[in-house]
Subunit: 296 residues, 2 copies
DNA sequence: AATATCTATCGAAAAATTAGATGTAGAAGG
DNA sequence: CCTTCTACATCTAATTTTTCGATAGATATT
């Protein structure tokens, strides 16, 4: 039983004529005869009585009419739904590094939620490797990496920007105000860094390795908010993206160290898989993040 | 959008795999790919995300799942309905001569209704010509004729029997008890007959015409119950089938005249059109009439 | 590193749908 | 009464659609 036949059947029944239905539907009359016969054969019952070139619905025919209408109505309803582009109702899974997660949630989430209350967003944190794996397994809809600038034909970079990074210390630090520092000047100071696998930490280590240098931090921890507050109240040094340190820099609790010979490129990238179906919700979310999160 | 594709789609979604759905449905894998693509093209949206050989329903896909289930459920429900052979619910239109109508309704209808309370029967009366016309235009489901024995390849004679006919008079008639009467003995008596067009009346007239005889009845009326009661209380004579006169013959109010030279064949026939769809109700009704109405 | 698994795609084969011509029979109109 | 028109069934042939089988590309598994 195919929809094509049901539609023909409905038209025949309404017009009371094979010929008229054929004209209306753009079929030849023999095709309509065939389609109805096909239905009758499949169902094993007569749908129309043919007596002297006049057709009359049988009881079974009457019953089918009602079902056929319901079925066609469902089909049309669905197609209408498609056109309407729907209210946002999707679930979106975003994965970011810890620091970005915190920043986004405190700075932007409430505003986003106010604007699009029906989009449900799930935030998860992970390091770059995990995040890319999740993209590959369609477990994350979109991710934000803080890492070297990465490119892969399977991914779409919705937006990217280079992140300024600085070595930071407490404002009363012995390094404050000193110009033209070298990495070797501070390499032996006590460091607090993010965990090893994490994006920019890895880039940092690799960059040091190039110069045959190495840092063994006195503390490793993923939570950058904790790092900054520790640094602000001690003689510890860290290496962090500006967006993390900005509040304490502004309030004068932290200061940048003027280290000239470590120019590390760290990129913040908003990435999704090229085969990802863009639901309206996802599109909206990504556009919002491009606008607000990558504004500065 | 054809049902075939929807069924495939449902299976793919449930099994989470094109290949498994193909195996289950007996298609090749490429066919399943093609069918899903066909749906996606028609709807203009992706139904599955394909990321690294793993498929995941998109939002649109999820929506379609729900509609597809409803549509398939309707189809199956209808087919189930067909199998169940349904409770009787049909309307049946029966057309008979006046006399048969009266006889059937008084003798059998209540019993039939008690046995099959859900079959709604509509009785109409008409003469043979009208009745056959109604069969030809599918306006009557089944008819009963009292006429010469008729045959036509378009009709199906469900049951037939020859009807004994007699000339009848009141029991005190001057003809009572006389043996070996000829038609010429009574031809000039006052007759009451059914109306001209009516089945057995026409046969009767034709038979007389063969012998160059003619009767001009003093009264013509379709209602045979009236004819019999008039005859019983007068010197009128009539020519009627036995089933009409039986009650008054039994009660001794009427008597048969022993006319030997008028052997008219009148047949009672239960007829429907060969293209008539036999609903269960109609089948039941016809079987009942064959059994009860043609019993003697 | 080799094997197995999964989907996309392509061309060929098979099957289904469709159209056109013809037949039959009643309806309509002169 | 005869002709014309209309309506549906049926047959054949053409066309379109569906299906399969083989292959490719890429990942997962062992």
């Amino acid at each position: 039983m195919e929809l094509r036949n049901l539609i023909t059947f409905i038209n025949v029944a309404e017009l009371g004529s094979f010929t008229k239905a054929a004209d209306l539907l753009g079929y030849s009359q023999s095709t309509v005869s065939f389609q109805i016969k096909q239905l009758e054969d499949e169902l094993g019952c007569l749908l129309f009585e043919r007596i002297n070139h006049t057709i009359t619905l049988t009881e079974r025919g009457h019953e089918l009419i009602s079902y056929a209408h319901q079925i066609c109505a469902l089909e049309e309803e669905f197609k209408e739904n498609l056109k309407e582009d729907k209210t946002y109702s999707g679930h979106i899974h975003v994965v970011t590094p810890d620091s970005v997660c915190e920043e986004m949630l405190t700075a932007h989430y409430l505003d986003f939620h106010r604007k699009y209350p029906d989009i449900s967003v799930r935030f998860t944190t992970g390091d770059s490797g995990v995040m890319l794996d999740m993209l590959d397994h369609n477990e994350a809809d979109v991710i934000i990496t803080l890492d070297h600038r990465l490119y892969n034909k399977d991914y779409i970079i919705a937006k990217e920007q280079q992140l300024p990074m600085h070595f930071v210390a407490a404002s009363e630090s012995k390094f404050e105000g000193l110009k033209g520092l070298s990495i070797t000047d501070i390499i032996n100071e006590p460091f607090v860094l993010t965990e090893c696998g994490q994006g920019y930490r890895r880039v940092f280590d690799r960059e040091l390795a190039k110069r045959s240098l190495e840092i063994t931090p006195v503390l490793e921890i993923g939570r950058t908010d904790i790092i900054t507050s520790l640094v602000a109240e001690s003689n510890l040094i860290s290496y962090l993206p500006d967006f993390v340190t900005k509040p304490l820099i502004k309030s004068g609790k932290l200061c940048y160290l003027d280290v000239c010979d470590m120019n590390i490129e760290i990129w913040k990238q908003l990435i999704y898989h090229k085969n990802k179906w863009m639901s309206k919700s996802l599109r909206t979310f990504i556009d919002y993040v491009k606008r607000e999160e990558f504004s500065d």
